[in-house]
């Protein structure tokens, strides 16, 4: 397996731990931001492990949909790919606002995310990280 795949998986794990710490501090915007990074790293770890060429952008949700027929992947993961694609796109769409707030309206990030937003982000990041880790640990 490519070294970079395992490196990205490790980065995803670190981001997830930071997201959980941020949530404990009540810093929900950072929780969402770190959860997004976790998902992006985990998905890119999957692409690297499969040597699948992907664009260097944050939202790689659409590219994940191309793997639903990739027989190298276990069937249960292939079935979950649309869900992972959706949460990848959803978190990527919140990326800028979770970091910088709504610059256009002068609203800081901390005012834009609630505890339940943070909990959902951690849930989605944990799900994605766990799914990719299971696969990479087999490889």
């Amino acid at each position: 397996m490519r070294k970079i795949a395992l490196s990205y998986l490790q980065d995803a794990k670190s981001c997830l731990e930071e997201a959980k710490q941020a949530s404990i501090r009540g810093d929900y915007a950072r929780t969402v931001s770190r959860s997004q990074e976790c998902v992006e790293y985990a998905v890119k770890a999957l692409f690297e492990a499969l040597e699948f060429s992907y664009p260097f952008i944050h939202d790689v949700g659409p590219q994940l949909l191309l793997l639903t027929e990739d027989e190298r992947l276990p069937e249960d993961l292939r079935r979950d790919l649309p869900k992972i694609a959706s949460l990848t796109t959803s978190l990527a769409s919140k990326r800028v606002i979770a970091r910088y707030g709504n610059q256009r309206a002068g609203i800081p990030a901390k005012e834009l995310f609630s505890k339940s937003d943070a909990e959902k982000a951690i849930h989605d990041a944990t799900f994605t990280y766990t799914e990719v880790k299971k696969l990479l640990n087999k490889g």
Partner: protein, 174 residues
Amino acid sequence: MEPLTYIKPYVTQLIELTKIHYGKRLVSLAVFGSLAKGVFKLNRSDIDLLLILSDSSKNHCKRVDEFVKNVLMPYYSSSEYIKALRTTYLPPVSVVIYSREEARFFHDIYLDMTLWCEILHDKDSFLKKVLDAMRKKIDEWGSVRKEVSGKSFWILKPDLKMGEELIDKTKPLV
């Protein structure tokens, strides 16, 4: 094929899905950014959309999640999109969603939109009125748009005095 010609059917599909999902809640829908400006580059540009809704959750996450679930994922999952993605790069979609009330106030995306904007749906000419009011402000202030190395910025009021407040966030444009 020219990037603008190539991307047009995908943008059309995205617009249709947006109109279908939001229905009567959709006040205004516009394309802005490089696509509206006519300088769209397939490998470097986003598809920038502005949505103004009659009722929109105050929670930013919920707004985005609704758009991703009901518009973006059906768009990304369509057979035409998947087929194209297998052979080429398709640009990401970047969306700004405002409620009608929020959209009445100054937002800096309106600045470039006074110059380049394709309005695709506009109930009671709401967005047109907002952009007309923005143009009036720009004239009053003597605003200048500058472009340096492909990056742009606005000097809103060249003779602005230190401490002078230019934008009153309590006063709507319309």
